[in-house]
Amino acid sequence: MPSDPSPVLNPATPGGPVRTTVGATGSEFDTTKARKQSTLIIKRFLRHRLAMASLVVFLLIAAFGFLGPLFWTVSIEDTSSRGYLPPSAEHPLGTIQTGKDMLAQLIVGTRLSLAISLVVAIGSTVVGVVMGTLAGYLRGVVDSAISRFVDLMLIIPQIAVAAILVRALSGSWYVVALILAAFAWMQTARITRGETLSLSQREYIEAARAAGAKTRWIIFRHLVPNMVGTITVNTTLAVATAVLSEAALSFIGLGVQSPDTSLGLIINENYSQITNRPWLFWGPFVIIVLISLAVNFIGDGLRDAFDPRQTKVRS
């Protein structure tokens, strides 16, 4: 791929369909600008309406969590009000049992739930990709060791181990995030291992090795860039899984703990009010479902953008 794009010689069709001129080598015969792979992928993603709408929803929720404190300055520690106040100008979503402001709870909960899932998604992707590519590229003993380790990690339900560790360590949001990440990388490792096994048979890897490239160079310069589609889609979906795992863990009381809060913990604290004060339950519930739905749709859009051949079969 040339780094500097050749000039547009036919300005009549800017942004029109890509026309490739087979056999025309001189620049005067070029009709379209050379495009980078990444530009094409971004364009395809932007055309995916559902994914774009989901991206907007996701950004709005993120803005609510991360920028919310700028506009709503009530502290989540403030217990000066009475418990279970109905919605009013002072407390737009009322208060919870302890007299804390529900809107402030939701803002912090959304922020920490999102932060946890992003840490989990990125952390598990990094570990999973390194493990998977090492196993798939080095084969032999390393492969067996890593694969058996993955098998080992998969035999105990994630939520059980995570709950034990949270109880042992602490319920701060970042501890919960790291623990969840430590038990979420196995799927990514399996997928990247499989892909590495097939990619490392290609000629360009062989050529790189013949040229004396080191393992680290081959993995990060040749293998990972060629799996970037799979990895990105997987990371996106990991965000959705992490939001749901966090909710489950915090619900049984072995996840995020006070003074931190999260969407799961808010549900845990308020679900008994589902019939009397429904907004206390449905608020965090709707945010969780929206995050998870939006992220799944974004993942779908990314998959289509990275691999347009798959668009025919939508699942």
């Binding site: 035999i155 339900p157 059980a160 749901l244 619900f251």
Partner: protein, 332 residues
């Protein structure tokens, strides 16, 4: 096939063993089961020391592991260190809890597979029909739902449904508590009534979550086989639509779905923990939560080993199914 199964079982023994070492260190390092007692006023250091000695807690961790392992293999899984109650045998409590959870999980899994596969096949055969859109969006929605909330919502409306039943002069049907100890009593009709009432809501909430994964997966894999060359050939030969779908496309579309079955095992158990927490069942979920709260080491070890063995069994069953469904795969 038999040789393959034996080999797989033999391979899983070292995995379970290494797993048990890691689990034991994690559980032992997690916290002191006697911490609560120590904090209690009126307990002398002598009492604590005696208790520690009787429970073997004063030994080095390696020694404790070795003792636990020897006892465990001989069927003595140790006793619970829950304070203030009579000593409880770990084996009995885990098995009792497992029996409750297993009935829930197995029922939900079977329902989810049957429903998910059926809906997935219909959605694929009638691609882009209203049914397809409804099924696909329902699956997508369920896939994004936290199981906690599904269970809470079902429980809430279950109670309201009961109230309506009562107003109409019927008995309250749906139960939102743990199944009674000692089983259901009464005539056959009453037992069926209690049984369905107790199991319906928890099973449904577990089913709905798994169903989403199965139907999405089945639809995608069915579409792939329906668009393949051999199905086109079968159609060209004049074979009836029905036979093409069931004989040619459906059978092959089941192959990738069987991998989901093994991946789903651990997910299902996690889901059961949450569902039980919502409905207050005294199954594996409640046992786990209470043992974690008290750092009950032998109870946790028993729990983890049983679950690990179950997940390994699930995986083995899935692999054997894979081999049966796809003769190209040789299990060796």
């Amino acid at each position: 096939m038999i040789r393959y199964i034996i080999r797989r079982v033999l391979i899983s023994i070292p995995i379970l063993l290494i797993g048990s070492v890691l689990a034991f260190f994690m559980v032992a390092g997690a916290g002191n089961p006697l911490a609560e007692l120590k904090a209690k006023p009126g307990t002398t250091p002598q009492q604590i020391a005696d208790l520690e000695a009787s429970l073997g807690l004063d030994q080095p961790i390696i020694v404790r592991y070795w003792r636990w392992l020897l006892d465990f293999l001989q069927g003595d899984w140790g006793q619970s260190i829950a304070l203030g109650q009579a000593k409880v045998e770990v084996f009995d409590s885990v098995m009792r809890a497992l029996w409750i959870t297993a009935r829930l999980v197995v029922g939900a899994e079977i329902l989810a597979i049957v429903l998910g596969v059926t809906v997935g096949v219909i959605a694929a055969v009638r691609q882009y029909s209203i049914f397809d859109y409804l099924a696909t969006s329902a699956a997508f929605l369920m896939f994004s739902m936290p199981i906690v909330c599904v269970a809470i919502i079902l429980k809430t409306y279950g109670i309201q449904f009961n109230n309506v039943l009562q107003d109409l002069g019927f008995d309250r049907w749906l139960s939102t508590v743990s199944p009674a100890e000692g089983g259901f009593q009464g005539s056959f009709g009453e037992v069926v009534f209690q049984y369905t009432g107790t199991y319906l809501l928890p099973t449904l909430s577990l089913t709905l979550i798994s169903f989403a994964a199965y139907s999405r997966f089945q639809r995608a894999s069915m579409l792939e086989t329906l668009n393949s060359d051999y199905v086109r050939t079968a159609r060209a030969k004049g074979i009836s639509q029905r036979r093409v779908i069931f004989r040619h496309a459906f059978r092959n579309a089941l192959i990738p779905v069987s991998t989901l079955f093994s991946l789903n095992a651990a997910v299902l158990f996690s889901g059961a923990i949450i569902t039980e927490a919502v409905f207050g069942w005294r199954g594996m979920g409640a046992l786990l939560v209470s043992s974690i709260r008290t750092f009950d080491p032998y109870m946790l070890m028993g729990w983890l080993m049983v679950t690990a063995a179950l997940v390994i069994t699930f995986n083995l069953v899935a692999d054997v199914m894979y081999g049966i469904l796809d003769p190209r795969i040789r299990l060796a």
